[in-house]
């Protein structure tokens, strides 16, 4: 076999601390290497052409590139060798950037280590076999998980693009957090007026199937062919019959039901439709407060319902859907501010969250758009906003910036002045972060036109004094401490990953960061992809975002799905396990160990044997290390290939111990 080795400088990224010429020199001496050189940027056009020319001139059978991580460019170079006429699996990559030059400064050790890594890659390549992908059909349906504004946008764009869309929403209506907002920044336009029509579009679009009050239970399969089980929760109302007339709500005697849509400011009835613009506009019963479900008597709703839609005996159901791609748009949750005991949230009634304030400002909210102190119902004249509650604070494990709180606080000061002209707002802030279009102008307007007083510094304490609140904090611009007497304190709570995010990530086999936000495939260049083919991200599940960014990412995810579906067939990855039927003793160890259920037992001439289901195997290799016979081998990472790598590093030791 004739192998060519290309050692990349990556500018000074590698060449700064690795003697690339010497690595190429060392490679030349390796068995099988017919050509070795160093090159400025292997991934650039001249770099790739150089590889192609060398393959042709030297009649090479395989290529090793020593450069950056395979995550970055393995696909690039596989295409390069293919263009040179080789099988794309006759290519190996040695990572001498992330594994060498970026982590060490010593030129000599770095150069030695790089040479070792190249030797391993060459040894493995000598064991490589030609592999050929198979083609398979794509199911051109897409599932969107989460019906907030990002999910809605993704669903509409996919549906407009002609795809069949399955939209799964865990609450009883789509709309997400945006539906709860009174106004949006920086335009101060009515949130539900701009979101409402989109929600209606979702309901009316012939290509969209909406599952509300439903959660993803299980996901199996692979890009192009996912199978999803959807758990439809009980609503105790037959939604095929319910017309959303609301008669049941009028008659329900259980009126003290906590109202999540209104952030628990005010209450609702046990049977309810979350808000007038809800989609689907269907009633559902809260089992915890329904008198019938708890005590077995009442049934007022069933008496008045004109379509006889009430089903007290309704059970959960599992629905099955098959799709070719999935978009996760599961959004965020609000930080639990009660951790900051010094702010008194949850204990002092007139300390509320920004979202509760938002509901109070909303004309369709629990107070009919009147701002009231929860303690006595009076209009507050002095309102203090505390920013960064659960953002940029290591002590509560939320070191990140939630991104939108500066802006919604500015908006709320403006709305406060609109609602109560003789009021005064104070904002305690750390920095004002308003980088979007027209954003900085907006916060300035809050200060200059609406007279909100901005005080830079954290609040140390909020306490009651008579029927007032005293807010004590620092003014770090004047270097003094400051006390403000307030009627209402609004905590600008930050964003955190939604509860259950990590469990869903595990079902989707995508990664998440320490805070539970889903990880994009590349932070710069693949912001909506995940490392699992066919699964995309939109909105705050990937990190806190404002509405424009969420909508933008929803559209981006949709366009990725449409691009994926522009082909009729996809190529399957041949890097999967294969059973050598002669060696297999049918012990079934691999079957029980495979996390993806990709191995089944077959009968071969009366003997039990294992067989890999090609489309399900993820190529993780767990079975190969389990098999006592060495009968199951992961293609492209066989025992022989891995041993060859190890041998190239420490030949004498291994030779002794194996003979």
């Amino acid at each position: 076999m004739k192998i060519g080795v290309f050692v990349c400088h990556c500018g000074s990224n590698i060449a700064g601390t690795v003697d690339t010429a010497q690595v190429a020199e060392a490679a030349r001496a390796l068995p099988g290497v017919a050509f070795a050189t160093d090159t400025m940027y292997a991934c650039s056009e001249p770099g790739q052409e150089g590889i192609i020319d060398a393959v042709k001139e030297n009649e090479l059978d395989g290529v090793v590139v020593a450069s950056c991580t395979p995550r970055m460019h393995e696909a690039t170079f596989r295409r390069t060798v293919e263009r040179a006429g080789l099988n794309r699996y006759m290519f190996e990559m040695a990572n001498i950037r992330e594994h060498v030059s970026w982590i060490g400064k010593d030129m000599e050790s770095n150069t030695n280590k790089a040479a070792d890594l190249v030797a391993m890659a060459v040894a493995k390549l000598r064991e490589n076999r030609l592999l050929f992908p198979k083609k398979f059909d794509i199911n051109k349906r897409v599932m969107i998980i989460g019906g907030g504004v990002a999910g809605i946008q993704a669903a509409l764009d996919c549906a407009e693009g002609g795809l069949e869309v399955v939209l799964v929403e865990k609450t009883t209506t789509i709309g997400g957090k945006m539906a709860k907002l009174d106004k949006t920044f920086p335009t101060v336009d009515c949130s539900s007026c701009i979101l409402g029509p989109k929600m209606v579009d979702v309901a009316q679009h012939p290509n969209i199937t909406l599952y509300a009050a439903a959660e993803v239970d299980d996901v199996s399969g692979y890009v192009g062919n996912f199978k999803v089980a959807i758990r439809r929760k009980q609503t105790y109302v037959d939604w095929n019959l319910c017309t959303g007339c609301g008669l049941c709500m009028e008659k329900c005697p259980s009126k003290k039901t906590p109202d999540p849509f209104n952030e628990f400011v005010g209450t609702t009835t046990a049977i309810n439709i979350p808000f007038p613009q809800a989609i689907p506009k269907k009633a559902s019963i809260n089992a915890e407060t329904c008198i019938m479900l708890r005590k077995g008597k009442c049934g007022k709703c069933a008496e008045v319902c004109p379509t006889e839609a009430i089903r007290f005996d309704q059970k959960e159901e599992i629905a099955h859907e098959e799709v070719g791609a999935i978009v996760a748009a599961t959004g965020y949750d609000l930080f639990d501010h009660s951790i900051y005991t010094e702010y008194g949230g949850g204990r002092i009634r007139d300390v509320i969250t920004s979202m509760q304030y938002e509901r109070m400002l909303s004309a369709s909210g629990p107070t009919g758009g009147h701002v009231k102190r929860p303690s006595n119902g009076e209009e507050p004249k002095s309102v203090v906003f505390i920013q960064c509650v659960g953002s940029r604070d290591k002590s509560v494990n939320r070191p990140y910036c939630s991104g939108f709180c500066c802006m919604y606080t500015a908006k709320q000061t403006i709305l406060t002045k609109d609602h109560i002209p003789d009021s005064q707002s104070y904002v305690f802030y750390m920095d004002i972060r308003s980088p979007g279009k027209n954003y900085d102008e907006f916060t300035r307007r809050a200060m200059e036109e609406y007279g909100a007083r901005y005080i830079r510094g954290r609040v140390a304490q909020v306490y009651e004094k008579g029927d007032k609140l005293i807010v004590r904090g620092a003014d770090t611009l004047t270097g003094t401490s400051i006390e403000v007497e307030a009627d209402l304190v609004v905590l600008a709570v930050g964003a955190e990953s939604t509860r259950g995010a990590s469990a869903l990530a595990e079902k989707l086999r995508i990664s998440y960061d320490t805070y539970g936000f889903y990880m994009e495939s590349h932070p710069k260049l693949k912001p909506v992809e995940t490392n699992t083919a066919g699964v995309f991200l939109a909105g705050c599940c990937q990190g806190p975002k404002d509405i424009p960014s969420s909508v933008g990412q929803g559209s981006a995810a949709a366009s990725k799905v449409l691009t994926l579906f522009s082909k009729d067939q996809l190529e399957s990855d041949p890097q999967i396990s294969q059973v050598d039927i002669k060696r297999c003793i049918g012990c079934g160890k691999c079957i029980s160990t495979c996390p993806f259920g990709a191995i089944k037992e077959i009968d071969f001439r009366g003997q039990p044997k294992a067989e890999v289901i090609e489309t399900v195997c993820q190529g993780c290799g767990i079975c190969t290390s389990t098999c006592p016979q060495g009968a199951i081998q992961l293609q492209h990472f066989t025992d022989n290939q891995i041993l060859a790598e190890v041998m190239s590093l420490c030949p004498p030791l291994l030779e002794k111990s194996f003979e």
Binding site: E342, I348, Q461, Y463, E464, K465
Partner: protein
């Protein structure tokens, strides 16, 4: 009554002088609640505030000596009524977890301490080991009609990772105990504010401002009395109330009890043991108010 729990007892220097009523009522209440106190033999001053501001090693050695005494007496837990002693004992234990630091401390001691002793405040033991519910059952004279502002002081719960007791910003142990005694606990937002501490000696205006603010809030919340858990806080609020009034042109007349005095009162212990006569602001009127209330109740 469940069986007696035994603890090493570290009264602290102020217990011998400025806060005798705290010391006495603590002993009486502990006995009544089944907490057995074993006095540390030949204990010495913990160094109070001055020692640790000068030298952490010397300060830790002062506490280390007391901890070592407890160990040789076979005690596994020391309790103290004074938050300042508590801080010094706990901080010393915490710092001595660092071997290099401990070595320096050991060099100063006849017999090194081995970090086997747990340190708690009397309040923590009454709250956690006895508990408000048990106390409620033992109340014979409920403090009904007594509106109190519980004041914890700034160091009993802080820093949280050293003190490991209750909430550092909004502690509730005293609140719950006082409620169990039948008192009305007013919302007191400055529970863990500093009273000015020992600035009373060097810079009196610090204390008159800070302690003045505390009493003012207690008044604003309609408290009839404040309840303290620290000899220094109590002194600043009670003994210096006249100075505070002079400096702030106020006319406060707010009795400042130790929580142990009120527990003792509600448990029906003889008032002689509780030292109400040692308080600077005369509590008689307030005490009479409770008496009348409980007569009405009976």
């Amino acid at each position: 009554m469940s069986e007696a729990r035994t603890f090493g007892y570290y009264p602290g220097c102020s217990g011998m002088g400025t806060s005798m009523e705290y010391e006495r009522s603590t002993r009486a209440v502990c006995e009544a609640l089944g907490i057995k106190l074993v006095d540390l033999e030949d204990w010495s001053c913990c160094g109070s505030t001055p020692a640790h501001t000068v030298d952490h090693v010397l300060s830790a050695a002062l506490s280390g000596r007391n901890l070592s005494i407890a160990e040789s007496m076979g005690l596994d837990t020391i309790i103290t009524p004074c938050p300042s002693c508590l801080t010094n004992l706990k901080t010393a234990t915490h710092r001595m977890e660092n071997p290099a630091f401990k070595q320096k401390v050991d060099a100063l001691l006849d017999k090194p301490a081995n970090n086997t002793v747990t340190v708690k405040s009397v309040l923590q033991v009454i709250y956690e080991d006895v508990g408000p519910e048990t106390i409620r059952q033992q109340v014979v004279r409920p403090l009904s009609g007594l509106a109190v502002a519980p004041y914890y002081g700034c160091i009993m719960n802080r820093p949280p990772d050293v003190m490991q007791f209750d909430d550092p910003e909004n502690p509730i142990a005293m609140d719950e105990i006082l409620s169990a005694l039948g008192a009305d606990v007013v919302p007191f937002g400055l529970k863990v504010e500093c009273c000015g501490a020992s600035h009373g000696i060097a810079q009196k205006d610090v204390v008159t401002t800070l302690s003045g603010r505390l009493i003012e809030l207690a008044y604003a919340e309609n408290a009839m009395a404040m309840v303290a858990a620290c000899p220094l806080c109590q002194m600043n609020l009670d003994l210096r109330q006249g100075q505070i009034n002079a400096a702030n042109k106020s006319r406060y007349n707010m009795p400042v009890f130790y929580y142990t005095q009120l527990i003792g009162l509600a448990l029906g212990l003889p008032e002689k043991q509780l030292g109400f006569d040692k308080l600077a602001v005369n509590p008689d009127k307030v005490l009479r108010a409770i008496q009348e209330q409980s007569h009405v109740a009976q």
